[in-house]
Subunit: 522 residues, 2 copies
Amino acid sequence: MDATPLYRQLAAHYLDAIRAGSLKPGDKLPSLRHLMRQHGISLSTALQLCRSMEGEGWVEARERSGYFVRRPRRLSMAPMDEPAADRAPDPAQYVGIHAKVSDFVARRRQVTEKIDLSIARGAPELYPAEALRNAMTRLLRRRPGMLAVAAPLKGQRQFREVLAQRSLRAGMTLSPEEILVTNGCIEALNLALRAVAQPGDTVAVESPTFYGLLQVLESLGLQALEIPTSPQTGLSIEALDLAIHTYDNIKAVVVVPHLQNPLGSVMPDAHKARLAHLCEQHAIPLIEDDTYSELLDAPVPPRALKSFDASGNVIYCASLHKILAPGLRLGWITAGRWQARVEMLKFAQTRNNEALSQAAAGEFMATGGFERHLRHLRGCLKAQREQTADAIAGFFPSGTRINLPPGGLQLWVELPERLSSWRVFEAALAEHIVVAPGALFSNSSRFDHYLRINCGWPYGEAVDASLRRLGAIATELCRALPGAARAPTAAPAAPARPASDGTGAAASNRASTVSAEPSSAA
Amino acid sequence: MDATPLYRQLAAHYLDAIRAGSLKPGDKLPSLRHLMRQHGISLSTALQLCRSMEGEGWVEARERSGYFVRRPRRLSMAPMDEPAADRAPDPAQYVGIHAKVSDFVARRRQVTEKIDLSIARGAPELYPAEALRNAMTRLLRRRPGMLAVAAPLKGQRQFREVLAQRSLRAGMTLSPEEILVTNGCIEALNLALRAVAQPGDTVAVESPTFYGLLQVLESLGLQALEIPTSPQTGLSIEALDLAIHTYDNIKAVVVVPHLQNPLGSVMPDAHKARLAHLCEQHAIPLIEDDTYSELLDAPVPPRALKSFDASGNVIYCASLHKILAPGLRLGWITAGRWQARVEMLKFAQTRNNEALSQAAAGEFMATGGFERHLRHLRGCLKAQREQTADAIAGFFPSGTRINLPPGGLQLWVELPERLSSWRVFEAALAEHIVVAPGALFSNSSRFDHYLRINCGWPYGEAVDASLRRLGAIATELCRALPGAARAPTAAPAAPARPASDGTGAAASNRASTVSAEPSSAA
């Protein structure tokens, strides 16, 4: 027996229609009378159905006309601000991120999450596990001896050839000999930083940036200088230029030019050219982390920063586990003038990588199946990002802002300014929902009211329910802030509607702070 | 058509009989008359046969009695000296090993070797590739999704359980939670050193030690303090004690207690207890590298240093690629009081390991097949070490010394003192034979006249021929040394016999410096 109330079952049916596009923004929902007749339900149930959909932001009531499918609310949200780049950034500091991350990890270990929205990774079903499995099985049958000999130090030849060939699409001309296979992009970044910087040195990074990078810096005894970064165009070249002239001690710059984590920004080619030139001019090694570019909604990847490098000053790092298979630890690096040193460090750090996954990845990536997989993955992620953004727009408190990035696995969500995302994290965790608080993405407190939300999961009931609760939690915490009446939002606050429609306080709170004039349909 | 001269073919036949034990030390070779009749050969050929076997040290002529199978020559070789431990070792220094290793690597890349005697690794056929392949294929069939999800950060649970259980045999009581899977032992050592020492710090190591460790130290900016180490009992505790009191700046001690690389020494339990106590007393972290203990000729492994640790002061590192499969990069670490820091560093350095090889190794190691494999591996290596030692005793110049270790993959060979092993390496490389010169195993010049020889290859013609040439090369270089007549050897030098027996200068040179009184059989 299905315990879901009838009106919820029907709401799900109409939501499917909206999501599938058979009911488009502006379309009219069937009238109450029509709904009663068609589904054999009472007026009360038909009303519950419409109000719950209204409460969730999917439809809006127009006086005397009925309920209409809304334009995605996110389209009307205010975009995030561009960062100020006209003042020198705060001086570099030891990041102190381990304590935060450890705290975060220790806490989330205490619960079995319903769904993990804190990671930046696609759901297993988005990846071609079966094709890779078949490639591995074939390889094991053909070359069982592979397990009994050490793989080549630089990596499997065929795999490096495929990487070299694919990198042409990003404007890089590499020989397989210039490619070194690593244990994920994170090892590549470690090697790059160890090659060019010494403990105590200062490294310029984007702000915010992914906590993995901050951890690498901290573990290597490096100091992070956080450079203002645009949610649209990435690292501010002006701010970096200013920082270079202000501090004169920057030993490396690390940049994620495409689908920056967590912002999702994409650096325009002109910026990349300027950045490569600026770093070359000042003899500052430029480290490019290109983990995400294949997830950009485009048939070919953007030009790599490395493709603007004339002198070997750019160290390029990338990996496959976000685009090919999260179970593989395959990264790679091409290190320009530091290639020999990076190879030596890799040898001293972990020796060669195992052969099997390289060989299987190399085989699969040489087939058309890889491009088909990427197209499918991009399509799924695009839909999931939009659905997640719609849900956030629908469920989160007024004043919430997002930029919908043109690709990738996550959304960077700005909560109303005084709302601590750490508190949101804690309250959500108590309900077994895990999100990544903004405090993890910077050593400053600038992003303490941000959240990073994973969009890697196919959008279904579990994700929807989690985002709804998350929105409710944020809204509740927002209302509990001192002086909440003067909430920093342009939308006028309306009194909370009683939760008579059965969707609970969450939806009605959201509705109260978002809809200017809730009206019921005739 | 076989181009091998007839007498060589017959010599190979009798050598097989000696190696197989059907002709034992002390047994008489058939008389010349008997040989002529049995094989239908001339007296001249029968004499060539006997003299070539005598020249290679397999038989000795007794006047008027004939040729007799010799006792293995190595049994009569002088053992290596114990190191002097009564003076403080030289101060610690930056190792400067990378340049040497890079030079070594660059040179050996120039040739396609006939056989690589420079590594410390078993031949592929010594490892259970098929059993592991089957385990992998089964796992991929059962759990294809494994490729699409990230493996647990600490490692696969079942694999860690097997490791914890097996470590009981070495006297360690570990929970799987205390075990962290790494990319080989080399990553474990990196993490251990990074956890306890900072760039510029001094770390005490065995002297000689494997160049991989010296590279790790150098790449981390650590200084190596080389502690005299016995070829029999390993690190000199007295010398370490003296060094601790002399320098007062040692931040860690790294020890390979069992089958030390390159010496093959095995530390007695009493030494281990004293070492653990000494380090604890001075609050110096003790890092144990236990890569080889399963290769000891014994049914159970020796007690780990870690089993003498009462306070979490010992960090234990080990790996499987020398004992289970060189194609897998599976190491592990249990880090006592530094466990949390090591886990953080591992996360920041390479994240989790891939799941498949852990799961396959865990499955195989839980079966009786693993113990059977180990017994077989130990047996093969024992035979190969003895055959290699015999060959070295037979072919190398007088004054050469070896200790036959009670297990493991290699022999540490001391050449006559003024003979540079780097020159031997270069001359051998010109003939496509690769060995590891002693200069790679220390920052001092103390081991410049040593070689490490891999015994991982099944002893066959290729290995035999390579060792023969290596001996000849060393002998030639020895003779070319200024004042070679006063060679530092106890054996009286005899005039070189003309290479009339067709085995070339090598065998006759060797014979000339080894056999006191060559005689021909009647």
